[in-house]
Every structure is written in C-alpha cells, then in structure tokens.
Symmetry: C2
C-alpha cells in the first residue's frame, strides 16, 4: 500500500471510530449503558454488529473509549483551571444536554454492583475533588470567605454540579442550573452575603 | 371462608408483597431497573415468575410499588420538617447504603428516554424543592444568613444531598457524607463563617 493510501485508510478508520463513539453516547443517553446494545449502536452508523466489532471488540471496550473521549474533550490543564471557569463549564454543559444525559445516566448506573464504569468514576471523583481543592486554595488560601476549608468545600462543589444536572435534565424549565451553580460559588466566596444590603 | 381465615390470608398476602418489594429494592440496587428482571426478583423470594405476577402483574407495577413504598417510609408531615432534621436524615441515609444505592441508580436511569420513573422523579423533585424552600423560610425568613433566598437555596440543598450520595456510594472511605452535608447547612446559615476565628 502506498503511504498516501495508508494515511487515507487510517483517517477513514479514525472517522468511523468517532462516528461510532457519537452513536454510543446517544444510545447510552437514551437507554443507559446496561440497556444499550451493540446492535443499536451499529444500526445507527449503518454497520452490522459484526462490522462494529472490528472497531470495538466488546461493549466494555466501547464504554472505555467513551469515557476516555470525555476525558480528552473536557481536559483543562490543572494550572489553568480557575474558580470562575467552573461557572463557564456549567454554562457550557447547559448547551449540551445530550452529553450531560449520557454521563448522568452512567454515573447513576456506576453505583450498581460490578458496573464497568465504577472504577472510572471512583478514580475520577477522587482526582476531581483534589483538583477543585487546589483551585479553591489558589483562589482563597486555607479558609474560604464562607468559612470552609478547600478540602471541605471540594466535595460540595462536585455534588452541586452533579445534583443540579439531574434536576435540570428532569425539568429544564423549572431549574436554572447555571444561576444556581453561580449562587453556590457566591456562597462559597461570601459574595452573596456581601451583596445582601443591596 | 371464616373471617379469621380471610384475615390470615390477607396478612400473608401483605407479607408476601413486602418481601417481594424488599427483593426488588435489592435487585435494582445491584443491576438498576433496566437491568433488573422479574425472574431475578421472583427467584430471591422463592417464587416462580408466574407466581410473582400474581402480586405484581408487570415490572412497571413493581417499580410503582417500590416508589410508593419509599414515599411512605420517608414521609414526614411538612409542618414537622426542620432544617436540623435534614442533617439527621442524611445521617440516617448513611446507615442504609442499600436503599440509597437503589434510589441513586433509579435517579440516574430516570433521565434516560422514556424511563418509567421519570415523571415520579420530576414531580418529587419539584415538590421537594418547594418543601425545602418552606423549611428554609421558616428558619431564616426571606434571606438566609449566607445571602441566598429560600428559593435559590432549595435546589442547592437537594443537589448537595444527591451529589454527595454518589460520591459516598462510590468511595465511602474517602467521603464523609454526613460531615459534608452539615458543613453545607453551616454555609447556608452563615454558621461556618461565625466559627472562622476559632
């Protein structure tokens, strides 16, 4: 095979994988991971199930690729995260309900016994709590204006993001996810209290 | 049938239903609702699937009964909820990881398309936000010491409870669910800040 043809074949392969990943995200959003079938993903991209297995040999392999893809999309170098960027992240999330639905469904399933995404979420959350504590420390030092330590506030920050996502996905008309998250940031920073007399 | 025999039959029937509900809670905790089968529930209580259908004619009927049972267990008359009782509720939840796992898995699944628990969670969360806002108003009036209105704080309170449950279920050694929730109550009430100089 000539170099050019090889590059084209590789590019086509990558494109196909990306297409399958997008379909998998949709199917998981609709049915959850346990309810998702490789057949449904294959059908959505016009492949047979056998054809799909050429790209992802098992359902779990496809899940791993979905989780890795998320880490790639959402990765921001730790030293570049600032507290106000978290508000922007929630704003960004509010524009992509499909992806948020996929990962909210996966997080919910991950607490069931032996779920293949359990270790991923356990490790991810441990490292996200650490990152958030570092961000809070960089912003406020050892004690936040609201009174908490960075380590006490970090799990609350994660919890508010996740918890608001469920309420918002269930009832987007009633829940202002972005406004509520910014109100929470204000609470951590003592900002709401400062504005109290206005 | 003599009245006594009828009573006994009714009592046995109730007992059997309760037993099936407990088994359903376990199976949902282990596999989620979509991953749960009536056969697995039936097996756990020593019934055939056909025998189970005598008590619950469909899988959805069993789910409805599970959700109703939860509302009965956890119902506290609205005028008796106080803010500090929410801390006790989280403490109580920390002693029943099985039930919390069941409902965290169901909440996660409920955001997927056409899930049979979706309306239940949407309505429940709307009414829980209203109740929590009323509790916060009774405690603090129109503005919390931390600066938020009761309506702005209520979805955060719900989010923190739910979000902490996922982190705690995934990694109970690393996440102090009760302590974190009480820290959040302190933040809402401005109490942590008062303790800052200690």
């Amino acid at each position: 095979m000539a170099p050019k043809a090889r590059t084209t074949a590789k590019a086509r392969n990558e494109e196909r994988r990306a297409e399958i990943l997008r379909a998998a995200l949709e199917v998981i959003a609709e049915r959850g991971y346990r309810g998702a079938s490789l057949g449904a993903v294959a059908e959505r991209v016009g492949l047979t199930q056998q054809g799909l297995l050429h790209y992802f040999p098992t359902k779990d392999a496809l899940l791993v690729a979905v989780l890795e893809a998320r880490d790639q999309w959402d990765a921001v170098p730790t030293n570049e995260i600032r507290l106000d960027l978290l508000g922007s992240l929630v704003e960004y999330n509010a524009m992509r309900p499909g992806i948020i639905q996929t990962f909210s469904a996966l997080l919910g399933e991950s607490v069931t016994d032996g779920h293949p995404a359990r270790d991923y979420f356990t490790e991810r959350y441990g490292s996200v709590r650490e990152k958030f504590a570092a961000v809070l420390r960089a912003e406020y030092g050892e004690r936040l204006p609201g009174g908490l330590t960075p380590e006490a506030a970090a799990p609350l920050l994660v919890a508010v993001m996740d918890g608001l996502q469920y309420q918002w996905l269930l009832d987007p008309e009633s829940v202002d996810m972005v406004g509520a998250f910014r109100a929470f940031l204000g609470l951590l920073g003592g900002g709401e209290r400062d504005a109290r007399g206005e």
